[in-house]
Amino acid sequence: MGWTESLRFRLLAGAAVWVALALMLAGWIIADLFQTHVRQRFDAELANHLEQLAAVLETDADGRPALRQPLSDPRFRRPLSGLYWQVGESAAAPLRSRSLWDSVLDLPDDRVENGGLHRHDAAGPANQSLIVLERFVLLPERTEPIRIAVAADRAELAGVTRAFNVTLALSLAVLAAALIAAALIQVQIGLRPLSRLRDELTEVRVGGKKRLDGTMPTEIRPLVEDLNALLAHAEEVVGRGRLQAGNLAHALKTNLAVLANEAGALDERNARAVGPAMVRQVELMRRHLDHHMARARAAAARGVPGISTPVADCVAALARVMRKLHAASGVDIAVDVPAGLLFAGEREDLDEMLGNLLDNACKWARGRVGVTCRAEAGGMLSVTLDDDGPGLPGDSREAALEPGVRLDESMPGTGLGLAVVRDVARLYGGDVRLDASPLGGLRAVLRLPAAAG
């Protein structure tokens, strides 16, 4: 949590990891190349010295090997300089460079027939670790080939490599720092539209602006468009809410006026007459409240994209409720709703529509209620509710869907149930119609938009 969730941290951490890995790999390859190169130069130089040694070698008057002139590199003359030569076998007091001082190159026993170059590791004076290059040469006036060798201190090679590696590591570290700094700047610039978006949202929230308008990069533009759509939707909902509240207040005021008049006229003699009138007004007020509540709920949900409700869940929950609420009549509710059918709208609205229809069916049924649901062409689905109650004659079916109509005052209920169902269904672009049921009672068919699974 916290800083690991920061976008800036993620981008920077990613960049740092890659920079480090890439530079480490590069450093390793470069160091290896350099070492190989230095080694080759070192070997070439030794070979060169050996060549020179062979060139200046001659036989003196006593028939012993001698140098016609000293070798050019001054290190051969400086004691323990790390560069040495030797002529002859180690055991037989060989001719050797002044730099070897009083020690002898301890050459391994090596008889070579082909006269090629040989390379050895050998211990040198002052604990030096030497690389030795040797060959056999045949001097004029001698029958036996003589062994000549040059040697150099390995430490020199290591020193050069170490110095190079230090410089390389420092340079790569500086490069890494520069790359990460560049990434930091890039992230900073790249994320700037997000801060701008936040500033704009703050401005919208405090009321300075109605919409986000700054030109945003293509990646963020859909987000801005969605936010603007959401803002528009919120505005519309609030507007509709105001209108609904106004309508409701107006409707209730009329009833309240009647109630106030009746209450004013209330006295002992007419109490019997006034009582039912007042009850009737209260009932009407309740209907208005129910109606506007249902409309307000549905209106708020409409237009939010991407919501869906599984019909089967909703029907199962409502059937549970109905079995309790209508336990006294013991009505049997048969549900046939395939799983996977989705209504493109809010759960509350589907509950409201199906709840009212199912409640009606259970209220009137003699013993059986059926609920089925099918997908239909054109992205719709239909829920069919059947009961085996008395049903409705054809001409009163349309009237049953009008607000405020209650066809039988003897049954409890507000009479608005069906009107609310139709209102909500139409808000979603669907509808409800009533028909005769094969079970003998009323059939209600609710058509609603389906959501893609």
């Binding site: 409502l318 509350e348 009212n356």
Partner: protein
Amino acid sequence: MRVLVVEDTAELARQLKQRLEGEGYAVDTAADGEEGRFLGETEPYDAVILDLGLPKIDGLTVLRSWRRAGMAVPVLILTARDAWNEKVQGIDAGADDYLAKPFSMEELLARIRALIRRAKGHASAEIACGPVVLDTRTGRVTVDGQPVELTAFEYRVLSYLMHRKGQVVSRTELTEHVYAQDFDRDSNTIEVFVGRLRRKLGVDVIRTVRGLGYRADEP
């Protein structure tokens, strides 16, 4: 029959208590969820009327904790929250019935009667015990079709015994279901009520089970 009303609107609680007592119930009221939950857990009620929007603990939480504790008392939710998804929540929390405000008092009474009857295993609104018939809808008692006038307490005693027809009801149990909590109880008065009931009914439907209590049975 003893009923608990958990309702925070004092005026409505008073109306409910008055009306229910008029129908022959012993009524306790609680004005918040905490008190309601406590009463429900400690007193043996025959039915509970429960509001949802309560101070301290909301009604659904109270109901769920009762059901978790294994309490089977029938509960009717009485609330202004009347959306269907709220009813689903209420029923799923363990309610046996759901009535939305504003409601008609007659419907509430009918539903409470039905809840108690079903909880005690009676399918019909009339409970008969030999020639004695108790109509739970009207609160009328007849013997061989002839109406018998009973006081409120006599009716409560007879109603409870007949709801539990065939089962032995101890004197303590009977006292608990006949008196409200704040009533000064005296189990001796139960004997007085039973004696008067026997005289008024004139048939032997209330048996004394020695050392255990009473049992309503066919004569």
